[in-house]
């Protein structure tokens, strides 16, 4: 059974930037992804919503190289890809904020932001002695955090483990937004954030899109989703149930779909 996106009026002709077909991921007895499809169009904000345990995180982990799907294929800009690791996916310009944040608690904010792509000093020190350019990294990190309004962070060299939950999430989001070049994936980026900080993240998401970079946003916050998303991928029981546009459906409809209270027309007829 091929799950079709519904309500795809625009971009139907355009080729998806990131596409997945028939992804399967099993954890022992649990099947987290059950022949799941996925499409991300160029320049769009795609929200992914679904119940807890529906398999959203598993999906984006498969797309970003953090887990290897058991079956199925992924294409990026039309070319089939297999990401062996997150670094691999990152090399292809896919940047991801995981639900678990992926930070090294004992290292500083700046160290964490540049993990795996550190800046080196110009000249001999950098080239030959591979010396890090700490001032540059710190300056950059400070700027990015300020953009997000995370000014309660008192010291950029603070270890991440001393930050509050929300502060940590802010750092992770800032990292992804700063470095994503083709796709930015955010798994519940505002879950631990306050009102002010959430607002900044939404603005940031729009910013990123305005740079032409598409975004995948997983969120349980319907108002946020309906505010920023161009399309909404509704995930249910390990697979894509349907894709809707926020203008065509109400939040109630979306909630009804994802919880199984209603079945979207197209799926109903297809089934």
């Amino acid at each position: 059974m091929d799950q079709k996106g519904i309500g795809m009026n625009a971009n139907t002709s355009a080729e998806p930037l990131l596409k997945a077909r028939g992804l399967v991921k099993r954890y022992g007895k649990v099947t987290a992804l059950d022949h799941c499809d996925f499409d991300l169009m160029p320049g769009e904000i795609l929200a992914v919503i679904g119940d807890n345990g529906a398999g959203k995180s598993s999906l984006i982990k498969a797309l970003s190289g953090a887990v290897q799907p058991d079956e199925g294929e992924i294409t990026l800009e039309g070319r089939p890809v297999r990401f062996a690791s997150p670094l691999d996916a990152r090399g292809h310009g896919i940047e991801c904020v995981y639900q678990t944040l992926a930070m090294s608690p004992a290292l500083s904010i700046a160290d964490n932001m540049f993990m795996g792509r550190e800046l080196r000093k110009p000249g001999i020190m950098g080239q030959w002695f591979r010396k890090l350019d700490r001032p540059a990294m710190e300056k950059f990190a400070r700027e990015k955090l300020t953009e997000l309004g995370l000014m309660t962070i008192q010291n950029i060299n603070q270890a991440v483990e001393t930050l509050s939950g929300g502060q940590r999430q802010g750092v992770a989001v800032a990292r992804a937004a700063a470095f994503g070049s083709k796709v930015v994936i955010l798994d519940e980026p505002t879950a631990a954030l306050g009102v002010k900080e959430s607002r900044r993240v939404l603005e940031l998401i729009r910013d990123v899109r305005s740079r032409g970079i598409p975004i995948i946003l997983i969120s349980h916050n319907m108002p946020h989703v309906f505010e920023v998303a161009d399309r909404i991928h509704i995930h249910r029981l390990g697979r894509r149930l349907c894709v809707i546009r926020p203008d065509d459906y109400s939040m109630s409809d979306a909630v009804a779909f994802m919880t199984g209270a209603k079945v979207p027309d197209e799926v109903a007829t297809a089934a």
């Binding site: 099947t31 345990g53 319907m222 109400s250 209270a261």
Partner: protein, 357 residues
């Protein structure tokens, strides 16, 4: 103001009639898959399989191996390591490590012996005092770990040296001879007695080891205290927040480990006949017990594994040592091959777990 409240969550109307269906997934249930799943669910099965395989291989290689005597000899050779392994397992389950187990065992045995022979204390009382002393040494470890919050490795590295040095200083390196003990304080040698069903000798010490393993397995699996030991090893902060008295549990674990070591010390007297402060258990007991624990599949990061696995781990090492020697390898090669075994046994374990995940 309640108007915006209502609107804000109005989309939740969509929840009316939400499905309560649980995801159902079709699984291929091949025999292999089922085996793997069983192995995964039964962590001590893996060392058991390695063990059985080893016994069969050595049985084929050496005609004498497959005799009851050989097997009972192996059991009696691992009795001490098995008991020390119980102590070590407890500590490792809390994400700790105890380098002092061997030292505590040796010093406790020396104390039991010297109390009897130097001060003329009746043997049963001397044994009780020795057991208490071992418990106290373990308690000191636990106190340093739980109260002063020192890393277990460093605490027991320190107490290992301290206890061993105290052992030599106190005993003046004097051995108490087997014949003297047999004549004057046979209680010290209790665990060296044996039953001989059908001519095959089985030491009391072997029964003791099996009993201790069984008791500990029960306690860890079926009592609240056992669950707390696992929780402390898994994530001590979470355990504390969830209402476990982590420090008390840690101290109890180390003290109990000390008691087990002292029991091992008592068993040593039975098994070796004499009381010797320079028994190699003092130096090697820690590595041997850790080897058993790790081959048995207990995670050194705490919170995962079973005491029964440790028992099989000790057996595997025992079978290998005996088997290799009977096949006639040179002692240096035996050493070499045991090293390989340690790595291989754990690698096989890892492989099976991975395949079944």
């Amino acid at each position: 103001m309640s108007s915006d409240t209502k609107t804000a969550t109005s989309y939740e109307e969509g929840l009316q009639g939400a499905s309560d269906k649980v995801a159902e997934f079709h699984e291929q249930k091949t025999a292999l898959k089922r085996l793997q799943h069983w192995l995964h669910m039964t962590p001590s099965a893996v060392p058991m399989i390695v063990l059985v395989a080893a016994i069969i291989v050595f049985g084929l290689l050496s005609p004498n191996f497959f005799k009851a005597v050989t097997l009972s000899t192996i059991l009696q050779q691992i009795a001490i390591v098995g008991i020390l392994g119980c102590a070590q397992s407890l500590v490792v389950l809390t994400a700790g490590i105890d380098l002092s187990v061997g030292a505590i065992a040796v010093f406790s045995s020396v104390l039991m012996g010297q109390f009897t022979f130097r001060y003329g204390i009746p043997a049963p009382l001397a044994i009780a005092l020795g057991l208490a002393a071992g418990t106290a040494m373990g308690f000191a470890n636990g106190w340093l770990v739980a109260r002063i919050k020192l890393p277990p490795f460093i605490v027991t590295l320190g107490t290992w040296q301290i206890i061993l040095a105290a052992n030599y200083i106190y005993s003046a390196n004097e051995t108490i001879r087997s014949s003297a003990i047999a004549a004057e304080a046979p209680a010290l040698q209790f665990w060296g007695y044996s039953i001989q069903p059908g001519g095959v000798k089985i030491l009391y010490a072997v029964f003791l080891m099996v009993a201790l393993v069984a008791i500990l397995a029960y306690v860890l699996r079926h009592t609240a205290w056992g669950r707390h030991v696992y929780a402390v090893g898994d994530d001590p902060e979470a355990a504390e927040l969830a209402g476990v008295r982590t420090r008390r549990v840690l101290i109890q674990v180390y003290a109990l480990a000390g008691l087990f070591c002292a029991i091992a010390g008592w068993v040593m007297i039975g098994r070796f006949g004499s009381v010797s402060p320079s028994a190699s258990t003092g130096q090697l007991g820690n590595i041997q017990s850790i080897t058993a624990v790790v081959i048995g599949g207990i995670s050194l990061f705490g919170g995962r594994g079973s005491i029964v696995g440790m028992f099989f781990g000790a057996l595997i090492v025992g079978v290998f040592e005996m088997g290799l020697k009977m096949v006639g390898t040179d002692p240096q090669w035996t050493f070499f091959l045991i090293g390989l075994l340690i790595i291989l046994a754990v690698a096989v374990d890892q492989w099976i777990r991975k395949a079944s995940a």
